[in-house]
């Protein structure tokens, strides 16, 4: 029964993460960060485990995971692409770029391409305002973004993106 053993393994990993952080003051955010770093999202099964270990209700834990836009409840694509929508990027053409990138990828914000290569998320400032418009992929911030540069970036990331249906 491979599925059951995978679940047992996942629970053990979750408990290990929770256990190693629960002595911290205000441990919930550090725990959620550690879980998302390990699993790329917060699995539903984590909620009751955290609740039990931190002596919180499931509703409390659930509401915290939903409040913060960074925490995901489902697995993202291979790359998470954050596109800055804030004013300093708008002043350098991010509104048009936003449209072009969505069209190029064939998805909107909070969606993942069909090949699961890219998840697109909005972000409100990457602090790269002096070289806007900005996007972030993983831990790398790219500035002066244009649709042409984005196209080249996709090829260097070796992402086989399905052409958008027009």
């Amino acid at each position: 029964m491979p599925e059951i053993s995978a679940e047992i393994e996942q629970n053990a990993a979750l408990l290990e993460i929770i256990d190693s952080h629960k002595a911290l003051e205000g441990a919930l955010l550090p725990i959620l960060h550690a879980i998302q770093q390990r699993f790329t999202y917060i699995p539903d099964t984590a909620i009751p485990l955290i609740a039990q270990q931190l002596n919180l209700s499931r509703a409390e834990v659930h509401s915290v995971t939903r409040f913060y836009s960074f925490f995901r409840s489902t697995a993202p694509g291979k790359h998470t692409l954050q596109l800055c929508r804030a004013e300093a990027c708008q002043a350098r053409g991010s509104r048009a770029l936003e449209q072009a990138i969505q069209q190029r990828l064939g998805i909107g914000f909070h969606q993942t391409t069909a090949d699961r290569a890219i998840s697109l998320e909005p972000v409100y400032c990457l602090g790269n305002c002096a070289a806007s418009p900005s996007i972030r992929i993983g831990d790398t911030v790219y500035g002066g973004m244009t649709i042409e540069r984005f196209e080249r970036l996709l090829s260097t990331l070796a992402i086989p993106v399905v052409e958008a249906q027009s």
């Binding site: 919930l28 955010l29 915290v64 913060y68 002043a91 400032c125 602090g127 500035g143």
Partner: protein
Amino acid sequence: MSDTEQQSCPRKIFLSRDTTSLALGAEQVADRIRASEKHRGEDIEIVRTGSRGLFWLEPMIEVDTAAGRVAYGPLPIDQLDETIESLLDADCLAGDKRHPLCLGLTEAIPYLAKQQRFSFSRVGVIDPLSLADYQQHGGLAGLHLALTMSAGDILAVVSDSGLRGRGGAAFPTGIKWQTVHDVDSEQKYIVCNADEGDSGSFADRMLMEGDPFSLIEGMIIAGIAVGAQQGYIYLREEYPNAHSILKQAIASAEAQQLLGNNILGSSKHFQLELRLAAGAYICGEETALLESLEGKRGMVRAKPPLPAISGLFGKPTVVNNVLTLAAIAGILTRGAAYYRDYGIGRSRGTLPFQLSGNIKYPGLIELAFGPSLRTLLEDFGGGTYSGRPMRSVQVGGPLGAYLPAAQWDIALDYEAFSQHNAVLGHGGIVVFDDSVDMAEQARFSMEFCRIESCGKCTPCRIGSTRGVELIDKICTDGCSANNMNLLEDLCDTMTHGSLCAMGGMTPIPVQSALQHFAEDFSKQGEQDD
């Protein structure tokens, strides 16, 4: 240094590892230099620094000369191979000034020479992770001094300096610290608000990436002054580079006994922990931040009680911005009067302004309060990037006013700005050219509030949604008296009925756009005429 000495030790190239420098190609420059070093058989040491904040000249490299550092830039990323080779051929490592990319002495570049760098004096100069470098440039002198002073004396210096909170609210730091000091409590906290969420702001990030020890030193001094032994830095998730640098800096401070028990052999203790936020703008509001640190949703608390009296876990807490804390050590070493002598009116000291958006020369400009906004836009910024006329400037982040040309002569001073219903905030300045549609900007202000509202109070949660709808209506139906009265009423409710600045200040950009750029709101109406 003689020629023979220069050749015997590895020659140094200084190159920034700041987020924006990396976005502009600093890492490719480093890779390329390492490749050249190998095939030329030269011994070159690349020292990674923070950024000088002259972003239109980056990627930029600097080398040491007897007269000071000499800079070369901007290095063209699409011709890096030839450029690096030609720089090495031209003996740029010895500071040869004949290369076409030579910018001369870095500190003589007018953009930098005209600044008053106090908090940013080391940023771009030192290796941010070298404690030795930090000390050679005056670091830790403030802490050594603080360890010999009474709490009352430290508080007096901070008060006398006139330092006010640099996060935007500009509350006098000395009063806040005194309040926390005066509360009798076993447990107190120092919390650094590093959730720099305002668009157009990057000074906190640059400081944390370029001189993290100055922040750590300021927090330790704050702890000594108010009697707190635990500190937290609440850092936004959007800053992965700052996160990595701060993490290493804290580890190294712990290893060198700057943090922990018996700081530098004294009887003082201070623990510091770095905590990561999770993408909620509202957590830059201090009470929401404290909720988040406690492991809860970032919901704003009603004040009072003030965090200084009942803050993190109900304990007396200093919540200060990165730049406030980073200024402390310098204020102690140079004295309150030195700092207070900069600035005008009640705005004392310096503010690191951040110039971005549609601007030719974007960057970080630390100046004493007082010059006009126009000085920054024209003398430093050099006009728009696009070359089109400049039309609108948003100062102080997404909750700041949009200022038309008629208001660019306002002095950069907290009080002067508030007299014009504008805010200086954290010193972020975002420039727009004449292609901007101010109705779209006003709509975005409401939309941003709708997305980022914590939802606790109705004026902000519902008001922002109605605001988006109403601006859409105005753009299609025109500025009828009915629509305008509704918007004014809505803004009034948000301003006076919201729990915090999120809902309370969102009307500022909206109303400034309407007041100064009314022609952008009735496009449909014009077509009908």
